[in-house]
């Protein structure tokens, strides 16, 4: 039966050997197996570290969006150790520099946990941290990802249009921020007179609205005239009266005669009622129209107010309020920090699991022993018990760094504890804290603390960051063609604290003190310059406070500073009177130009309403009179018939009584 053997027809080979029967174990496999094991050992000894290093660099590049370099990486499978040296993360905004450089990272993992398919590290040491260090060669920066193309998403064109729109809005916003001081300078340059008023009142929205209302009144008047013409006219009402007078109201010969008259009366009254109803419905329609016109007319006051505000903005009347001044001054100052926050927020949004963002999905009491995680393929259950290992747990990360006179290196000491996949199991939040400074960069008194608590149903992130002292060099606050403001040289301290609930509800406050200030004050207008120099001279310490709250990615930012009210006071003395005068001029201009038109339209509305109402009332009164007359007549006829019947009945009874008296002989 063997196809591989010559069949019986084939000549038998004299060299054919009988094969030895083989046992169930394949002993000859020991050598190949040994070779495979040896190859694996050789790979892990010679190549694994290099491949892991390359993987770190590649994944780091993808995750951070800029080149990540690792100088050396060494792992030991038997000792359970890992060591990475010379980690450099390129600054995406300044590729010639590293945003972060770490000299040494090393840790050992627990074999005990690894045998249970869990990764537990007792301690990670992080040493020699440097920031903003120049690179040997500029790092590669990843181009931005193309936006996802989905049928439900807006088209590329729409996305580009939105982007352009946002850019334009942002630009306008920035320009407007600097304009508080620009407006002040221009206002002073114009001597508080502002531009010519001629021609500004030609395109007022309130005027257009009044014209619309006027047109609308004419239309309604036409409509009302049509409606009135369809109402019963005088001859028609007169005919009703004539018909009423011809109906017999007395001298009824029989009850049938009376019944006939009553029916005629009722028919006429019904006709009158129909006509009255027609008049009522016409009146209702006209009232609705009139109410619509009234509502439109009332709205005109709001439009006039808006017209005044628009004209004020055309006049560039400066706003001398502390809030606008503070915002105008400090938004450009805070912009770099806000864009950094946005950058890291985008990274967080990209990598955080979607279900981690809402606590409700987790339920109110997270079960530490039985925790299913939905997965793309099936469900993975976590069968844990108290004091068992979670899937991932780094117990401690120690950060130490000494500057040793190197310019970009800092003196840092920090501790991060309990980074884990299951805080509920170990019943400990993740905490990170560091202190130190970068003396060579004039950055001292650094303190940071962050607590990520996921043990409760709602995750809570508390953060606090302080800079004891830092140096400000040539920091511009306002740079417009009219005014230039900033700090030539200053020292500051900074602190921010806040919390993030359920990774969405943010609440924060920021305090920034700037002292030992050498101000930059320049202006095209000498009065503005004098005011600003005078104001700034009396402010040795600038205090900036910002606070906000909201739901990510939208949160508000409120800024207050002692600089705002001081500048407000300085300008108020000089300018408020002139600004008020200019405002009054504008208001008068609008009222004068709109006032006559407004009165005219109001009179038209009233006249149209009165005229239509009078017409209706007249017709209604006439019909009502006819109806009342008919009702009176019918009542009278009924009464007469009743009296006549009573009288006939009385005569008949008297006669019968008299006959009876005669018979009885009275």
């Amino acid at each position: 039966m063997d196809l591989t053997k010559p069949n019986s027809a084939a000549p038998a080979s004299p060299t054919a050997k009988k094969k030895k029967s083989q046992g169930p174990i394949r002993f000859e496999a020991v050598v190949p197996f040994g070779i495979v094991v040896a190859l694996i050992i050789v790979y892990f000894t010679l190549f694994f570290d290099r491949h892991l290093k390359n993987s770190f660099e590649w994944l780091g590049y993808l995750a951070m969006g800029s080149e990540v370099n690792v100088a050396q990486l060494h792992t030991s499978f038997l000792n359970g150790t890992f060591r990475m040296q010379g980690l450099e993360i390129t600054n995406a905004e300044k590729p010639t520099h590293d945003s972060l450089k770490i000299g040494d990272i090393r840790f050992g993992f627990l074999w005990d946990a690894l045998l249970r398919a869990k990764f537990v590290v007792e301690e990670i040491a992080v040493e020699q941290i440097e920031i903003d260090t120049p690179r040997k060669s500029p790092g590669k920066v990843k181009p931005p990802d193309p936006p996802p193309v989905k049928s439900t998403q807006p088209s590329q064109l729409e996305i580009e249009a939105t982007k352009l729109k946002n850019q334009a809005l942002k630009k306008t916003e920035r320009e407007l921020q600097g304009n508080v001081f620009g407006d002040l300078a221009r206002f002073l340059n114009s001597g508080g007179q502002g531009p010519s008023l001629e021609g500004l009142t030609q395109n007022l929205a309130s005027q257009k609205k009044l014209k619309e209302i006027e047109g609308s009144i004419q239309e309604k008047q036409k409509k009302w005239q049509d409606l009135v013409s369809k109402l019963p006219q005088a001859p028609e009402i007169q005919a009703l009266g004539n018909q009423l007078s011809q109906i017999k109201t007395s001298g009824f010969n029989s009850p049938q005669d009376l019944q006939s008259s009553v029916q005629q009366f009722e028919s006429l009254i019904k006709k009158s009622e129909e006509k009255i109803n027609l008049v009522k419905s016409t009146s209702g329609q006209m009232q609705t129209d009139a109410q619509g016109i009234d509502a439109e007319f009332k709205n005109i006051d709001q439009i006039i107010k808006k017209d005044i505000a628009d004209l004020e903005s055309k006049f560039s009347l400066p706003k001398i309020d502390a809030k606008s001044i503070t915002k105008s001054l400090f938004m450009p100052y805070l912009d770099p920090y806000l864009s950094k926050i946005n950058h890291y927020k985008a990274l967080l949004d990209k990598y955080i699991p979607p279900n981690a963002k809402t606590s409700k999905e987790k339920g109110s009491n997270p079960d530490e022993e039985f925790k299913p995680h939905p997965r793309a393929k099936g469900i993975t259950y976590e069968f844990s018990r108290p004091n068992s290992y979670p899937i991932f747990w780094i117990k401690k990360i120690s950060i130490t760094s000494q500057s040793k006179g190197q310019p970009q290196t800092g003196d840092l000491a920090g501790l991060i504890t309990n980074i884990t996949s299951n805080q509920a199991l170990i019943k400990k939040p993740t905490e990170a804290q560091f202190t130190g400074g970068f003396p060579n960069l004039n950055l001292e008194g650094l303190f940071g603390k962050i607590v990520i608590d996921n043990t409760a149903s709602d995750s809570l992130v508390d953060f606090q960051f302080k800079v004891g002292s830092y140096l400000l060099n040539s920091k511009e606050l306002v740079n417009s063609p009219d005014v230039k403001l900033g700090f030539q040289k200053a020292k500051g301290d900074f602190s921010i604290r806040g919390n993030l609930k359920s990774l969405s509800q943010i609440n924060y406050s920021l305090v920034n003190n700037i002292k030992n200030i050498d101000y930059i004050v320049e202006s095209s207008n000498s009065t503005v310059k004098d005011i600003l120099v005078g104001v700034f001279h009396g402010i040795p310490v600038v205090l900036l406070e910002a606070y906000g709250e909201g739901t990510l990615p939208d949160f508000n930012l409120n800024i207050t500073s002692n600089l705002g009210p001081e500048i407000q006071k300085g300008f108020e003395k000089q300018l408020q009177k002139r600004i008020n005068e200019a405002k009054e001029r504008i208001q008068k201009l609008v009222r004068d130009s709109i006032g006559k038109e407004r009165a005219k339209v109001e009179a038209e509305i009233n006249s149209a309403k009165t005229q239509a109402e009078a017409e209706i009332k007249k017709v209604q009164d006439q019909l009502q009179a006819q109806k009342s007359q008919g009702e009176d007549k019918i009542n009278q006829a009924k009464k007469d018939a009743e009296n006549q019947a009573k009288k006939a009945l009385g005569e008949d009874a008297q006669k019968k009584i008299d006959d009876l008296k005669k018979k009885l002989g009275f």
């Binding site: 591989t4 496999a29 005990d112 393929k377 099936g378 844990s384």
Partner: protein
């Protein structure tokens, strides 16, 4: 790749011979373990070691494993349901907690519903499949190979010098 092809040719050669019925049936039955287990798991590693060190036809095991991988993909919803039923069973909770905290056992990824479900299906079918494959191999040899050998084409082919040269080569080095 060469090793894999060599194993597949060896399987075809053995299938058409009159030897190694048990080896082939065991190889084909082991395929269900390979096919129904995740590639990176302890049970796959153990199955490979067994296939390697015991006289199981490797070509048959890999071919069968490849085939059963598709079957496992189709039966994933069923495996998921079985896995959930077992893993969510209150009476087995203590056992699973102990297993999850034992060395090596978590590497089987038994706590995944699909892995657990397909593991149960694979283990339940491995022995019946061994006997089924044994019968099928026997039937194949009886019904197909012997009939083919009696055809004129085969007799003509075996009479060619090429076949004689091959038969000699196979006898000496095969």
């Amino acid at each position: 790749m060469t090793l894999l092809l060599k194993q597949l040719f060896a399987f075809l050669k053995l299938l058409n011979s009159d030897q190694g019925t048990n080896q082939i049936a065991a190889g084909l039955a082991f395929g269900i373990i390979l096919g129904f287990s995740p590639f990176l798991s302890l049970q796959t590693f153990i199955a490979l070691i067994l296939i390697f060190f015991f006289r199981v036809q490797m070509g048959a095991a890999f071919l069968s494993g490849f085939f059963f991988k598709f079957i496992a993909y189709i039966t994933d919803p069923l495996s998921d349901r079985i896995g959930r039923l077992v893993l969510e069973n209150e009476n087995l909770r203590g056992l699973f907690i102990s297993l999850n905290n034992m060395p090596l056992v978590p590497m089987t990824r038994f706590n995944n519903s699909i892995v657990m479900g397909s593991g149960i299906i694979g283990l339940a079918l491995v022995m019946p499949l061994f006997f089924l494959f044994k019968v099928l191999v026997f039937q194949y040899r009886q019904q197909f190979v012997s009939r083919f050998q009696s055809t004129k084409f085969w007799k003509l082919f075996t009479a060619t010098s090429f076949y004689k040269w091959y038969a000699k080569y196979n006898e000496l080095y095969g």
